[in-house]
């Protein structure tokens, strides 16, 4: 009983404090995905660092993923609580733009490490990565050296992938194959399908199954081995370099027209492009920070494969073809 009384008084106190703080400081609400806000993501550190400099409260709202983020905006429209959105990727920017809810950031983009120049006046990138097949070096001695090599060799390695209907990496592989094979993508999927052990709902299932030894390779990111090297001192894992290049994913943030903290929002975007924010990204999001110089990356990031040339469709092309391409994939995989 005493415990409950304590709990009650603690929560009343917390409530009063929260209320006071809210009354005194402006509140900046950012919608993002929950692996950003989780304990292991960049969220807690970003919040702490930004609040130190802004005299405000940063409220990070974690939604399931980038797709849910966009859907949430579509549902809320102009009534959204969010001032900013952080975590939409280049597969979704065209659709996000089409909602007409964003306003130009009106900031200049600093020199980035992105392989392409960035001219988007609505969205600003904060990190990026490349899809790749990850394998265990001790178990797979001769990994394929190109996507075509992986596809056409009937005795090639078995793989785990994600479903493009439910997962971002899954969609990434679909686009990768499309980029490399063009009209022959369906045929390629047909050939590859025999060595696909399974197609999982999300990245976590596939990666978990890979670590349990269910297949030789798993679709993940070129930066995945860095996690094992840095956090687990485990050097067994590597990403296979494919000479056609690797499909790229750029994660961006955007400013909402309906927000009433425009100045603070722009301050946050600027903070996002600063060294402080950027140096949090590598070891929490396990992606390449968009601005941070290569020499400022942690050690584990320097021995990763060079993914160039980077492959990326124009976001308009993705938005108008995605449905058809997914259907094509379904046909190829179901036969």
């Amino acid at each position: 009983m005493i415990f409950f009384q304590k709990l009650l008084s603690a929560s009343i106190l917390a409530f009063i404090f929260a209320f006071n703080v809210q009354a005194a400081k402006p509140n900046l609400t950012v919608y993002t995905y929950d692996s950003f806000t989780s304990d292991w993501g960049p969220g807690p550190k970003v919040k702490e660092a930004f609040e130190k400099q802004c005299n405000c409260t940063l409220e990070l709202v974690g939604l399931e993923d980038g797709v849910s983020l966009l859907n949430r905006l579509k549902l809320e429209g102009k009534n959204t609580k969010a001032d900013l959105v952080l975590g939409i990727d280049t597969n979704l920017t065209a659709e996000a733009r089409a909602t007409d809810l964003f306003e130009p950031h009106a900031l200049s983009m600093p020199k980035s490490t992105l392989p392409q120049s960035w001219n988007d006046d609505t969205f600003l990138p904060y990190d990026y990565g490349y899809f790749a097949f990850v394998y265990n070096k001790e178990l797979l001695k001769n990994p394929p050296t190109s996507l075509k090599d992986l596809v056409k060799n009937p005795d090639g390695p078995t793989i785990l992938i994600q479903d493009p209907r439910t997962s971002t990496p899954g969609l990434g592989l679909l686009l990768w194959v499309k980029k490399v094979y063009g009209d022959k993508a369906e045929e390629a999927w047909n050939q590859l399908s025999k060595r696909i052990v399974t197609v999982s709902k999300g990245w976590s299932e596939a990666y978990g199954l890979f670590l349990k030894g269910e297949a030789d390779m798993v679709l993940s990111y070129t930066t995945s081995p860095a996690y094992h090297i840095i956090a687990e001192q485990d050097k067994r894992f590597a990403a296979a370099k494919f000479n056609e290049g690797h499909y790229q994913q750029i994660e961006v943030a955007g400013l909402l027209k309906s927000g009433n903290q425009k100045e603070l929002s722009r301050q946050f975007l600027q903070f996002m492009l600063s060294k402080k924010f950027q140096s949090i990204i590598p070891q929490t999001n396990w992606m390449y920070p968009a601005i941070l110089a290569k020499s400022d990356l942690p050690d584990g990031f320097n021995n990763l494969i060079d993914p160039s040339p980077s492959l990326l469709f124009d976001d308009q092309i993705i938005s108008s073809n995605r449905k058809n391409w997914v259907n094509e994939w379904l046909e190829a995989m179901a036969n």
Binding site: D34, S35, E64, R165, T198, G202, E205, H228
Partner: protein
Amino acid sequence: MNRQSTSAYWVLALLSLAVLIPMASLLAVGRLPGFESSDLQFWHSSYIRRVLFFSFWQAFLSTIISLGLALLVARSIAFRGNFLLRNLLLKLFGLPIVVPSIVAVMGVVSVYGAEGWIPLGRSLYGLNGILIAHVFFNLPLAVRLLLPVWQSLPDHYWQLADQLRFTPWQRWVHIEWPAIRESLPGVALLVFMLCLTSFAVVLTLGGGPKSSTLEVAIYQSLRFDFDPTQAVILALLQLSLCLVVAFLGLSLQKLPEVEINISATSYARHTKNLLLHNTVILLAAIFVALPLLAMIIDAIRGPVIEVLGNSKLWLASAYTLMIGLSAAFCSVLAGWLLLRSSSELANRGKVNRAKWIELAGSVVYVLPPLVLGTGYFVLLAPHVDVFDWVFPIVILINSMMGLPFVIKVLSPAMRKNQMRYQNLCCSLALRGWHKFRWVDWPLLRRPMGLAAALVAAMAMGDLGVIALFGSVDTTTLPLMLYQQLGAYRIPQAAVSAVFLLLMCLIVFWLLERGLGGKYHVQD
């Protein structure tokens, strides 16, 4: 004359509102400009027919296999009487329902995967994997639901059978089957619904998009395509499929001609095939325990201290517990109110109406929480701060999802009570609280404990609509688990998973023992 109970109609009315309003809001959103309307091509594609067929087929097979095996196992447990670890075994059988699907997939793969203890290799992926996982989830549940059937058989049946020198087959045909026939369609429907709505398990162990269920199509249309109209129509299609199966199933149901058992039963002395029963029980225990054991081994190897030392884990546990217990309370209350009328109707000979009431209360299970949750969001977002409403909505949805469990567990007991004591209560003018306290409670507390435990476990393991609504700093254990997995923290996730299991085991024990009482009234 006692007043007729109308509580079921109130419950059903509330339930329909709770389901129809969010779906209507979603349909309304789908008609706004800027949303892609569902294209007719989709409904004519071979894809949707394939998905419909596969959804049915995998659920049908999973149900048949789970129930077939569950009958064998429940029979053996009943005939074996009391044995060492019997209670522990039954608690163990309450666990799979709590395991989040992603953890179950990992557990199944640890046992049957390429590097597992019983490697099935690539053949695991496909129908095999789906069936193994679904039997793992549903066999124990079905055993728990079917076991009371044997316990309700009167002792003198067996004495008679002995005198008539019945063969085991004759016993089965003349004594057991008639009693089982009453329960089986309901349990089958419940298992069928669970398998029909299974998603991550089917997709991941199914080996590819050939194994897509309606639930996948619903998820896809509400997320990647963001087509609310199509999502609602697909959800209704799923409901219709379930209703068709329910019609067929319930028409096979026969209400009991069996007499109500009053004397205590001890089966052990009727048992001749001890060895057979022991083997069946042992095999079932091993089948259920192996994936759980794999999870425990992964957890022990993981960073136990680090995970348990995280204060967020404890906060998340408190939220999870709150959701589980609240959902259990609401669900048992609603189920009890619903069954009060339906058992009365059944007692007055209106068996069919009673059946339909119970069916209506159960089938909402197949409406995907994603659809309902999004509907509630659309409904509430313009008027209130949605974050304040996350927990009430999670609890509401989980209570609705728990209702079929409550109905299944409580219904036989309440009918029996009604038959046995209704007239007595009428003549004593025993009503309201006093009737509940002195007549209903002593006989219902055991099934109520079980029902509450099942709903709590299910709600606690549910990722729920929390992920959908978005969270500022409220996390539940399953959500935390997914976050760990998403951040490469797979060993940490293994520890959290087992922590969740242990918590459910304790809740199960507390609810069954606390509500059910230590020394139960024999029924």
